[in-house]
């Protein structure tokens, strides 16, 4: 504020500032912006506080290691944790090669003005904006009805692939998270200085040799960041997996990619909307929410720290 007042003492104030009415609204306006920020912070605090307060007692080893019992009013959430982990592992395995490959192409090979490059960038940007429920519809229409049924027909099987399963849900989520991985991997590749590429190629290395032994190791933290972010997002997305593989309740754990599975986010949805006795379910419901939040936050925190390190390296150079 003092910095702003100084020139006014020397120079005539502009007409804009002379009307007394506006001078009065000034502090009010800047105060309001601060209030908005405070309000957001308070709401976040209330939500997190509420969940931690009612949830922490429920999260015990037994809760994490047991199956739901008595119509989900007792027992634990182990099958849901297992299903979530299986889902995101499959997703990452499918996603990373394509996402990183695309990022390498965009950053190292593509000419920025070529129509193909533009088409890819446009698609990736808009893929990120497609509603998650539409991904669910797509997974059902494409993976299950078209690919799955097609495979069953071609192989003369009954219904093996053409039904909701772990694999189709993972692939649907992989497509949903493709933009996240591409964007973070590209950022990571950009953070590798030009000189490294030039030095490597001046030594006679080919483009791919340069990428494999110079760029990828350097960009690894960024690629990991993208992978972790996609896992954290994948673990919380429910709409895309509702029709492509998640199950209300299963008495067994999935053992093959064609099995259905239980998932934490979907379990929360089921427990809070389909339970015959919500009051009885509540403690376990809060516990499940806290477990999911802890999982996603730990993942996000790791990603944020990794990214901060990468950005610091980038900032240190330029």
């Amino acid at each position: 504020m003092t910095g702003a007042a100084w020139p006014a003492a020397v120079l005539p104030r502009p007409a804009l500032a002379k009307t007394g009415k506006r001078d009065a609204t000034g502090p009010l306006l800047s105060g309001l912006t601060g209030l908005a920020a405070l309000l957001i912070a308070l709401m976040v605090l209330v939500i997190m506080g509420n969940i931690v307060f009612f949830g922490w007692r429920a999260v015990t080893w037994e809760f994490l290691a047991a199956s739901p019992r008595e119509g989900m009013t007792e027992g634990g959430i182990f099958p849901a944790i297992f299903g979530t982990v299986a889902l995101v592992v499959l997703m990452v395995v499918a996603l990373i090669p394509f996402g990183v490959g695309a990022a390498i192409y965009l950053n190292e090979y593509a000419r920025p003005d070529a129509w193909f490059t533009r088409a890819v960038r446009f698609s990736v940007a808009n893929l990120a904006g497609v509603p998650s429920i539409v991904f669910g519809l797509f997974g059902l229409g494409f993976f299950i009805q078209f690919v799955g049924r097609g495979m069953d027909r071609a192989l003369g099987l009954d219904v093996v692939w053409g039904q909701p399963s772990l694999m189709w849900a993972a692939l649907t989520l992989a497509l949903l998270n493709l933009p996240v991985v591409i964007v973070t991997a590209e950022e990571a590749l950009r953070s590798v200085p030009r000189e490294m590429r030039e030095a490597s190629m001046a030594l006679g290395a080919t483009r791919w040799q340069t990428i494999r032994s110079v760029l990828l190791p350097q960009a690894m933290p960024g690629i990991l960041t993208g992978a972790i972010l996609s896992v954290s997002r994948g673990a919380g997305e429910v709409a895309p997996i509702m029709f492509t593989g998640a199950a209300y309740f299963l008495p067994y754990l999935p053992t093959s990619p064609t099995d259905q599975f239980m998932e934490l986010g979907y379990h929360i949805f089921v427990m809070s909307t389909q339970s015959p006795d919500v009051e009885a379910t509540k403690p376990l419901l809060y516990g499940t929410v806290l477990a999911l939040l802890l999982l996603t936050f730990l993942l996000n925190l790791t990603a944020i720290l990794l990214r901060a390190r990468m950005r610091a390296r980038l900032a240190g150079r330029t």
Binding site: L29, A110, N126, F142, T273
Partner: protein, 326 residues
């Protein structure tokens, strides 16, 4: 990728071995390089293919609504607007989508009214008024909010927020458009804030310094100089938030009560397009009128969000052009 400086080019050129006496090893290597580059190009193509396949397959499953005479008896474009009732399950199914459109509109407007002022003002605060330490403290708060899965926000709105709002407003139905709107607003605040703040921070320092040097105060600078300069970016943030709000599913599915009624009252329970798909698709007959109708609604959601996102992209482009020279 930028064009390399002229000096570095001649140094790279001789690496392309097109010599006469090329060794077999070199030739194999060159072949491998070409295969790898093609593979990477194919990876990049998955982005395009994904978007195209989504369009093709969502619309393909919706096609019977336009073409199949059996399906069209119950669900066709005219049937969607012939009745104001959405009763897809029953002896005489009714597929009037008006309640769903109005429901979506109500919830989205409520969410925007709640989230846009908060998100944009907080962004102005972070970029213009907050001390660096405070700004650094605000960032993780927004990141936490962004990291809360939508099913958790839906859970919070369903179990906690709905009771609080009902106690304040005295609404008859506990789950209503206001409840869903507030929860949905919480979900899109991070988008609005992050994009707006990035745009505000991208405004060159010289703009602010020039304004301050002319004697304007800090709020005058923020309000009359920085915010208009970043206007296109703030607009993009609002539009991206809007697109998210239109397509968001779990929050509205859990918080809105899901009653398909036509009413202008914000305290009435509502059913949105996305929530209808999520709630009904699991129980429909494959290929039937209901199934095709739900895919049609999905296609509608896709077209709306795609349109909004494209416009948002144009605003981002405009901001880059406007500030690019500085």
């Amino acid at each position: 990728m930028t064009v390399p400086p002229a000096a570095s080019r001649p140094a790279l050129a001789p690496l392309r071995h097109v010599g006469v006496g090329e060794s077999p090893r070199r030739r194999a290597q060159r072949l491998r390089e070409r295969v790898i580059s093609a593979l990477l190009r194919a990876c990049a193509f998955t982005g395009v293919a994904g978007l195209l396949l989504i369009m093709v397959f969502v619309f393909r499953e919706a096609l019977p609504v336009f073409l199949d005479p059996e399906v069209k008896k119950e669900a066709s474009l005219s049937a969607f607007f012939a009745t104001g009732m959405w009763q897809p399950v029953g002896d005489v199914p009714k597929y009037g989508i008006a309640p769903l459109l109005i429901g979506t509109l109500k919830v989205v407007v409520a969410a925007m009214v709640f989230a846009v002022p908060l998100g944009v003002m907080a962004a102005v605060f972070a970029s213009e008024f907050a001390k660096p330490a405070l700004r650094e403290a605000l960032k993780p708060v927004i990141e936490i909010l962004a990291g809360i899965p939508s099913v958790v926000l839906g859970f919070f709105a369903l179990i906690v927020l709905a009771s609080w709002l009902q106690a304040v407003t005295g609404a008859v139905s506990r789950l209503n458009a206001l409840n869903a709107g507030v929860a949905l607003g919480l979900g899109i605040i991070p988008t609005v804030f992050t994009v707006s703040e990035d745009a505000l921070r991208a405004v060159p320092r010289s703009y602010r310094e020039a304004s301050l040097a002319l004697g304007a105060s800090r709020w005058q600078t923020a309000w009359f100089v920085t915010l208009p300069a970043a206007g296109a970016g703030v607009m993009a943030g609002i539009l991206l938030g809007l697109a998210r709000a239109v397509g968001e599913t779990m929050i509205v599915l859990m918080a809105s009560g899901n009653a398909a009624i036509i009413s202008g009252n914000i305290f009435d329970s509502v059913r949105t397009l996305s929530a209808s798909i999520a709630a009904e698709l699991a129980e429909v007959v494959f290929g039937g009128p209901h199934y095709s109708t739900l895919f049609f609604l999905g296609g509608l959601l896709f077209v709306m969000t795609f349109g909004i996102n494209v416009v948002a992209g144009l605003f981002v482009e405009r901001l880059r052009r406007q500030l690019g020279g500085a």
